[in-house]
Symmetry: C2
Subunit: 187 residues, 2 copies
């Protein structure tokens, strides 16, 4: 379990054993079952999560009860309602398990402490945040420039694994199309 | 000029005069005229920019010659094609002046050097990156959940100044609607 986190961080920055022990002491490991909530829309957001195994959806439920999927998160992804986490406001979105999921969680206090006390973890978080920002900028671009069929093909190409693991209804919600439209696209 | 950058950084982290002198040595000041390009789609992206005064658009030109505005940047905003800047790939978007604009520019090498050699600047960049990530996550959410009229009203409420400074054609492109639709929304 903890080896996965170590390997993940070491993809970007080298660590000594002592440094990793120090880092690990800032995280907790949590196990969730399919359909469990890590974050509930409208409630406090205490943690940011690193996914060890499993699959999550970050979802906004509108006033008509319709769900909109902002992102998925699987192995090696970091996820949270970042606005609520960093600004310490109520969650605008829920984070829920699509599969049984194991995560490492870190509180904002520990995130800030770790960034300051071990500057190379500050660098790690900065790189991760920049990558997250890039992924979001790309998604905005795809909303502006691509139709549903193109967005479907981009997603298939970029994350082929998602297509085997995510129910079609959720894929449709991520792409912003109806279940029927998705069936036409994928046939 | 440099006082604006100092005040901007000090909103998040306190600085000594020596620290600010060190920081400033990593930036260059550049002046552009309306319609000048800071980044050209398809070319290298050497800098990230802090806007001292003026107004920029980050824009993607599609194969049919249609422009899609990913974001605007005015006073106190940081902007670049972040994917191309951080990954050192060719620009997918252009960054162009809507008004005469003054910026501080920083190369990736200096960004990384500054983050490492002055850890509190690492913290500053981390906070800025997280805020950028949050803003993008919010924009994705608004694409998924809001119609053109709602997106127009959100923008008007969040950035009233933009409405006085940005030509209507560009606002329409940012909102992903036609110029005619925007006229209906704003009447």
């Amino acid at each position: 379990m903890k080896e996965k986190l170590k390997e993940h961080i070491e993809k970007l920055i080298p660590l000594t054993e002592d440094e990793f022990t120090f880092i690990l002491s800032h995280f907790s490991i949590e196990k969730y079952k399919k359909n469990d909530f890590l974050i509930q829309q409208g409630e406090n957001v205490n943690y940011c999560y690193y996914v060890v195994s499993g699959l999550l959806k970050l979802v906004f439920n509108d006033k008509d009860g319709k769900q909109h999927i902002v992102s998925f998160a699987m192995e090696d992804w970091w996820e949270s309602d970042f606005s609520a986490y960093f600004m310490q406001t109520k969650a605008k979105m829920s984070l829920q398990c699509i599969e049984n999921t194991i995560v490492f969680s870190i509180s904002l206090k520990n995130y800030q402490k770790l960034s300051t006390e071990l500057p190379k973890m500050g660098s790690f978080f900065l790189k991760k945040s920049n990558l997250g920002h890039i992924a979001s900028q790309n998604r905005i671009l795809s909303f502006l420039t691509s139709n549903a069929k193109e967005r479907y093909e981009q997603l298939l190409k970029q994350y082929p694994l998602l297509f085997q693991r995510v129910p079609k209804t959720l894929l449709a919600s991520y792409l912003g199309v109806s279940r029927e439209t998705l069936s036409r696209l994928s046939s």
